[in-house]
Amino acid sequence: MIRYALRRMAHAAFLLAGVSLLTFLFSALAPGKYLDEMKLDPRIAPETIAALRSEYGMDQPLAMRYARWLKALARGDLGYSFAYGQPVGPLLRVRARNTLLLTGISLLLAWSLALPLGIWSAQREGGWPDYLLTAGAAGLLIIPDIVLALGLLIVAVRTGWLPAGGMESVGAESMGWAARVRDTGLHLALPVAALVLSTIPMLVRHVRAAFVEVLDAGYLRAARAHGIPRGRLVWRYGLRAAANPLISLLGLSVGTLLSGSLIVEVVTSWPGLGPFLLEAILARDLYVVIGGVLLSTVFLVCGNLAADLLLYWADPRIRSQGEAA
């Protein structure tokens, strides 16, 4: 177990190191830097820019800068935002929390809907409920998440059922604890709905495919012949057997949700990483962009790591493989 976990963690660390190097390389290869654009501004003295350059280490070779940045990162320092004039870490923390809240809830909701729907559809394979659900999933699949988010936003604005945009109502600070949670929940409904609707068709299709295969297997037929009730058959034995591809999909869906949340956050003006990153790109705020991309990779890698460990627990084949290696 420990060996397997260590191997997966080493893999995750490799991914993170690679991504940090990659984003750093992008930033180095790119023409046009924040400081270069400051040069065009006649109100800023050349000396100031030179001082800023050496302060941020811009005049040093790339490898040095990368090493410096890594060292700072080890201390939890993500760099300095040019645009905000503030360290990046605290700036990102609030946004990352909001994004995690949004994607976490969406992930839970999407899976807790997709699993029963997919299983239900697989059990009635070929019947009209299955047909209807498959067609519905395909229908949702072709609607891009931008369109979905915009459509939901239009509905919310027209009907006034849900607050359209933001995270809290004006004056939320003065509300009581329960009222504030309720207020945030209402604001969450729209982005969560958009995210769940855009991920669910893919999940339902995969869950259905996995269960169609498993339900047809000999051991489940035998179990059915022994008179094991259907609920237990599906949830206790079927789920275990179908778990492997689904857990890999769980790791994948974290990435899909993170990408999706970027757009959904911008459309519904949820104050997460998406709008913040977009703003940073437009302002050429180098360290904010690098920090944001890196943070999103950390989330993704953590999600994949969790999926890997879950897989170890769920799939005996991996366990025996892990011990053998």
Binding site: G32, A138, I142, I146, S198, L252, L258, V266
Partner: protein, 353 residues
Amino acid sequence: MRLWRNLRGWLAALMVMHAVILCAGFFAPYDPVSQDREHPYAPPARIHFRNARGEFHWRPFVYALRPQADSFDSYAEDTTAPIPIHFLVEGARYRLLGVLPWRVHLFGAGDGQTRVALLGTDGYGRDQLSRLLWGGQISLLAGLLATALALGCGLLIGAAAGYWGGWRDEVLMRGAELFLALPWLYLLFALRAFLPLAVTPLEAFFLVCGVIGLVGWARPARLVRGVVLSAKERDYVRAARGFGAGGGYLLRRHILPQTWGVLLTQAAILAPQYVLAEVTLSFLGLGVPEPAPSWGNLLASLQQYSVLTSYWWMSLPALAMTPFFLGYLGLASALQRWADPSKMDSGGMGSNG
């Protein structure tokens, strides 16, 4: 046989849709950037067959929209003078298929002056239908070019990794893993972040194609590598090598032809994803800039609350995109079944990549 018919159906539908976009100049009544400051946010024109006195006309007609005095965006139909719609009328100059100069449009107002905006107009009075059709050219072309780029890079890298193996394979596949590990939109953002912001539409177009294509090489590379790995151990390849065939010849002649199925399927899966990536970038203001139309920046105005609430026709372009995605989804699953009839389709647009 049924598979082939299915595949052909989707292919034909897609070809018709692309042909309409390709001949945007003919189907679009106006130039996509020409403005009509008299009619900002005009609602879609109503086609009439029956005039104010209730008389029926075979030729459809519209009424000119007169701006109301009290506000800038409310209009009334001038029912005194019906304007017939004519087909194959001469109008603004354009180049058919990008080369042939022509002036004939599918339809237009009979008086040659009134503008018939079937999908309404935007804040500058530009015809939304024309912008939608011309924007489709940019978005679809960007998506297809990016797909070609991603597949080209994927093919090269995958073939190199699979054929040579050893440390090269290790390095290349680790790199692919890296690209697959990142949420693609963040990666796109990161790459776009460090490229210049203020660029001409043409530069922006190639920039967007390049960025999307370069981010997407990893998945096709992995698949191609798998095919190459299995193909290079086949008997006929070994036999050819035994006869002294070189690496380049083997790859070109015996190994790469095997990757066709994978590449075609990937193309059908990736193309809509990349069209969508362009739409996303342009929607966020990082892609093709105004005044050039693209499906993304057509939707960008919906970020304004007032547009979202007051002008419902501004969201019509979003609906117009979905048939293309449906076509590509159908094509992808038909191709998958065609390439491997034993397997159910499981891919699609939603997957990460």
